[in-house]
Symmetry: C2
Subunit: 421 residues, 2 copies
């Protein structure tokens, strides 16, 4: 019996890993450009940490068990409770606003399907201790720039923007109490998929009509002056074209307290690439009132981002050329086994120069060594043979050849590589 | 009630994360210089995968539970079984030797103590499909180079080398059957800590005397010709001084089939930094005979490596200067709030040039903005004020100041940074 990996989990063979590394380092470098600092927490947390956030009822899709110390524990399903725990424990140590990010794995025991796995990775970016729309704009700009870095443009994706407060005000004016907001939004969420009669019937219990809802949803943007401070910030950054106000974005609105956004693939609108918003009460809830900090943030998942990048020719080509930057640089071919000691010394020196270098561990025919060099996409083959202490340097791309003293090889290769860039 | 993190687990605040990132990227870059390719697997695996390796009895310190699909699962305690599963599933897709590495987290439910945590990270490097001492040397050289990269030298650490086959041959000659090797080695492992009488009594049941064991252990290296092919390879690489043959290294000898090594901190010999060896039968055992590949590898843990690097002044200083390379590059100070739109445009352009840039989200006094720039260790402050479209560039280290057109800023900063390197 061959043991399989668990359903909903992924193996990352080197080709798969190259994608993961590409996406993770794109996220990390962009976050650092925005002056966010990286943090992380444990993969396993007390179940209580998640109980606080969701109130009395825990999510059903937790990987939850009792550990050997009889503790009720969970594989983390999301980052925000851990972030709240970290900040609550040492809040005074950090200047505000706190701009932090993490790239981490999460676990959800749900039915695996396209774009949804049981173990997945996300970048999570948050600004704590700053309640202004300038912070909201900084986060949206960061999310946009993370996608642009991979070559995506405003023809590939866009941001749908909403604000919980607008719905609250509207429903207030219709006499719907605040604690029923979530129920109304769940109906709105399905408005395009359910029959009009069904929706109408459901809305009726809140004293609402489908016509009222439609009128609210179709307000012209110009009238939604609430968004102006945020949209202005984005205009100043040259990002206004990426963003559309859309009052139908209701996912997570009960959790958030202010602006909320989701980023969608323009080709397949069902595919959400990232989402977030303002959650000013959550840190206080999770820390049991110990710390009260304004907060906003977003998460972006690796699964949908990679699907999109791999499906578009321009972003796929860009990723592949990034993979190539990791290929082998030098293959040291041993043409004469008597010179293996010299060849190994050379390999060691080149590696100490931070070059990526390989060679045949066992005596191997020279022709075969060249094949191995090409299979590894090496840039150069260096032949150690009778001419030692001279070596032949072959540029594998154009098969041009130079003979130089082995001592001069590191300098020669470094400058030849720069010239090829 | 404040929720705590679980005992034996770590939080990585940004200062802690900087260490983790430093160690992980040192490992990764060194592994790539040795032409190893990165892979990874799931954090959760079927418990069966670990049952195969250890024979009938499972380790007790597994984080093991039954998932919602009624599967017996484990948080991975080590990488090798996952590696064996990956390779067994697609063995023909890869040229031999396979040189792979991973940097990953593992879980062990044991009593937390100095240097031992319940969640820890390791780099694991393996060569599959190559049984020669050249592969063993490539692995030892990689482990050494990973530590040298952090500034450690042969006065800080050394490699203790042993080989299971020597013990087998010795015990064979004394009539001890192979399947009792592990028991004898367990006695040898405690020889310096137990009373002579106790050891003598235990050895007697195997027909051995303490004198015989001591004679075996103290053979001069010159007589141990079995190590010559491996030591010769290391000599060619200039690494012979890092390695000592030591027949008392018996940890894991029942698991390995050939050479075995451990790397120790010279100051505190109890502290093992890395360990590994040859395990030619394991892939076949785990894959139930589906794939039979020679294999050798090692693991190096983050906990002991970081402890050592932080405790030595020269490696600590080197780490800290690497952290500094991640500091903020540019702080854009807004001297006139009317120019906030221009300042935000400038921030956006600088970030698009891959610079790390921050600014005050809210109107802030200029003096305070400079304080924030310094607190973030920024290299430059750029002041957007009345002189716009000229800006003032201040080098924070020496407080020198230049006025230049904003358009020329990206080029100016890039060349000023190069000059400062």
């Amino acid at each position: 019996m061959e043991i399989q990996r668990l359903p909903g989990f992924r193996d990352f063979y080197p080709d798969d890993y190259a994608w993961r590394e590409y996406i993770f380092s794109g996220w990390r470098e962009t976050a650092r450009q925005f002056a966010f600092q990286e943090y992380d927490g444990p993969m396993l947390e007390s179940t209580d940490l998640y109980r606080k956030k969701s109130g009395e009822e825990l999510k059903t899709q937790l990987y939850r068990f009792v550990d050997q110390g009889n503790r009720d524990v969970c594989l983390r399903p999301e980052m925000t409770p851990t972030l709240a725990r970290l900040v609550a424990a040492r809040e005074r140590d950090f200047k505000k606003p706190i701009k932090w990010f993490s790239v981490a794995s999460f676990f959800r025991s749900e039915k695996p399907q396209k774009g949804r796995l049981r173990e997945f990775s996300q970048v999570n970016c948050d600004i704590l201790g700053e309640s202004s729309p300038a912070a909201d704009a900084e986060l949206i700009a960061l999310a946009i720039q993370m996608l642009r870095r991979f070559g995506l443009t405003d023809t590939d994706f866009y941001v749908r923007l909403n604000d919980r407060r607008l719905w609250r005000r509207f429903l207030d004016s219709k006499g719907v109490p605040e604690d029923r907001l979530t129920e109304v939004l769940a109906i709105v969420d399905k408005i395009e998929r359910e029959s009009e009669a069904n929706t109408q019937a459901k809305l009726k219990q809140f004293g609402l009509s489908i016509a009222e809802i439609r009128a609210f949803l179709s307000q012209p943007v110009a009238e939604l002056s609430d968004f102006e401070p945020l949209l202005r910030e984005l205009r100043w950054r040259g990002l206004r074209d990426f963003v559309e106000v859309d009052l139908t974005v209701v996912r997570g609105l009960d959790y958030y307290t202010g602006f909320v956004f989701e980023i969608f693939d323009r080709q397949r609108e069902s595919r959400s690439l990232a989402g977030g918003g303002r959650y000013d009460q959550l840190i206080s809830t999770i820390s049991d009132g110990a710390v009260d900090l304004a907060a906003a943030g977003f998460g972006m998942g690796d699964v949908t981002v990679q699907d999109l990048l791999a499906s578009l020719p321009h972003t796929r080509a860009r990723a592949e050329s990034a993979f190539a930057a990791r290929y082998l640089q030098v293959y040291v071919a041993v043409a004469d086994e008597d010179l293996r000691p010299e060849a190994l010394g050379l390999v060691t020196r080149l590696r100490e120069q931070n070059l990526r270098v390989d060679f045949a561990l066992q005596p191997t025919k020279l022709g075969k060594q060249f094949q191995l060099a090409e299979a590894a996409h090496a840039e150069f083959a260096v032949v150690v043979g009778r001419e030692w202490p001279e070596v032949k340097v072959k540029v594998l791309r154009d098969r041009s050849e130079t003979a130089i003293p082995a001592d001069e090889l590191p300098a020669f290769l470094t400058s030849a590589m720069k010239a090829n860039r």
